[in-house]
Symmetry: none
Subunit: 201 residues, 4 copies
């Protein structure tokens, strides 16, 4: 019971700290700010997390889970174009969300200090997406709908076409979160290009 309360409090800390880290970046965010925003004292923070770095890591881990969950949609038995568009929409929406982009930016800021973070993010986000695409493309290839003898590589190409310039500009902070319409356009274009390049011979 007490453990439940502790977990609940811990979650609140993670939430608040995430907001502060998102707003200010790792260095500019101070434990004082986080404690103040929490309405508690710094010492309480340290009762839950050994140090600032640990707290930060916990937040990134949490974000990785959140992002992983955004990629859970099951593909339907529709035709390949519709399916890829559905999968693509989901991926683009997830990866270009403020949540995901800001996480990436923080990870990049800290990647020198802790390269492990980037690895974990990659496994929870981009790689999960690419794997799911690869699985589907393998089946599509088997069904003769596309010609992708190396489905993993093909998935990489599709993934990058989906991310596109948009994602790149997002990470640089040059673009706001895209509207669903914008996402739709990007995804359509990406899938079209992909299907043309990988059309069955």
């Amino acid at each position: 019971m007490s453990q439940a309360i502790r977990d609940q409090r811990r979650d609140r800390i993670v939430q608040v700290a995430r907001d502060v880290f998102f707003e200010e970046g790792f260095n500019a965010a101070t434990m004082s700010t986080i404690a103040a925003r929490l309405g508690g004292s710094k010492a309480t923070l340290y009762a839950y997390f050994k140090n600032k770095e640990d707290l930060f890591d916990a937040i990134i881990a949490d974000q990785c889970q959140v992002i992983e969950k955004l990629l859970m949609l099951e593909e339907e038995g529709a035709d390949i174009r519709t399916t890829l568009i559905d999968l693509g929409r989901e991926m683009v929406t997830a990866m270009s969300s403020d949540q995901s982009v800001r996480t990436m930016q923080l990870i990049i800021e800290e990647s020198r200090r802790n390269p492990e973070l980037a690895r974990r993010f990659d496994e929870a986000g981009p790689q999960v997406g690419t794997e799911r695409l690869a699985a589907y493309l393998a089946k599509a290839h088997a069904r003769g709908e596309i010609s992708a003898p190396d489905p993993v590589h093909a998935a990489g190409v599709l993934a990058i076409l989906l991310k596109g310039e948009l994602f790149f500009r997002r990470v640089l902070g040059l673009e706001p979160e895209p509207t669903p319409e914008r996402i739709e356009t990007e995804v359509q274009s990406a899938v079209t290009n992909f299907l043309t390049a990988y059309a069955p011979k």
Copy 2:
């Protein structure tokens, strides 16, 4: 004359400071470290740059110029595949160099404080590359070598295919600087995909 000496000294500061910022990141790099490495005093630094932020901005501006210069190669009159591979190799080499990647990472770290930096980097690097591709693609379309009625968009697609997963992983710190062989493979794959997708109808 005194001005020439001043400019020379300033350049040296920029050089040294760039090394330190690259090695340590914006926050971890201290004015003391830079001054020590320079063999001068901190006060001298402040005689040339109003503050740390200013110095950093100057370094990014300098890097933008450097990167821009890396993209100056003139395309030859060879066939389209060869030409695109040449251009692509140049772009990928430039964009995935430690120089460029580290610059991007620093810009991302500071993008909240100064979004203008990202804009300038984009204009000096990625956009220059894409524009040159667009110009060439327009001509190729006119010659009927590809079907790209919107050459700017096509250039965006080619650009992203060239950057590929590699570039993202580079920025996340997950990959070392690629070998020329690795670059060659990536470029070939990207150009092949592009030419298939944009083949003349």
Copy 3:
């Protein structure tokens, strides 16, 4: 009955706290460490002792009792040299034990904050020893075995000869606990010197 339990619990606290204070010193020892080692909570500690200082004082008081008990041996009717060696061995063993030396070190660390501690230690340890020596020397003087018209002063001299450089170096942390052989040598030398200096005229 409840009081008995309380006393028992208190004793355990004193024991554990003593270990921690001995290992870490007053400042480095934290109430958290003590509570953790105790398997209880800090608040419990405060139910038994008003504050850290109080707890420390209790430990020193306890140590004084322990040390006092080490000096309880009754001297035998043997010849003076044998008797002084027996008494001396006991004193040196007691005073140069880790227990006693560490206590002295802690007292010295805290002597500015609470000079009373040193007084109590002195009364429980060194003074007790000296008094017993004085009592015996008075009798020996009466029996004409030595010439010590001021037996208290003579006892002081003997005491210091017994402690010797060894004790001094022990307190500075320059020597480990002496072996029985080492003690024997020191005691013999001290008693010899003493008996020569205080030989009956």
Copy 4:
């Protein structure tokens, strides 16, 4: 020239810090207090000493020098009793001065953290004193004035007789700095006892 000023400032820091450490002990003394007393800022302190421990070590080193200087008196060609009294007076005065006693107390407080300090103090103070006594006693033995075939051991005995109970009580904080009269009494008593014990056979 600038170095001279730096050294001067450093000396002032050592002086002030010593006072604070003497008054408060290592742990209770804070860098803030020292800086405030200095009229400067903490950062200045850290420009001269890497950290608190370093500053403390410098102070102890300085005190060791001071104490060593107190033991520089050259013994005269007077008779042995007078000479030993002169040497003894000097030793007791030096070793029981507040300066020396407080230094020892601080060293004891820190001896667990840095046992090296105690060693250096021992070498600068007590050992120097004992060595000088040993040198003189060797000569006196050669002249047949005393019987001390092992002059080093004899010097140890004399040294401990000189320090006496007084010194131990000083270190425990039980006695104020002794008056010259008190010192005289102690020294006379010690030398008398020593000369009786080591009288030529």
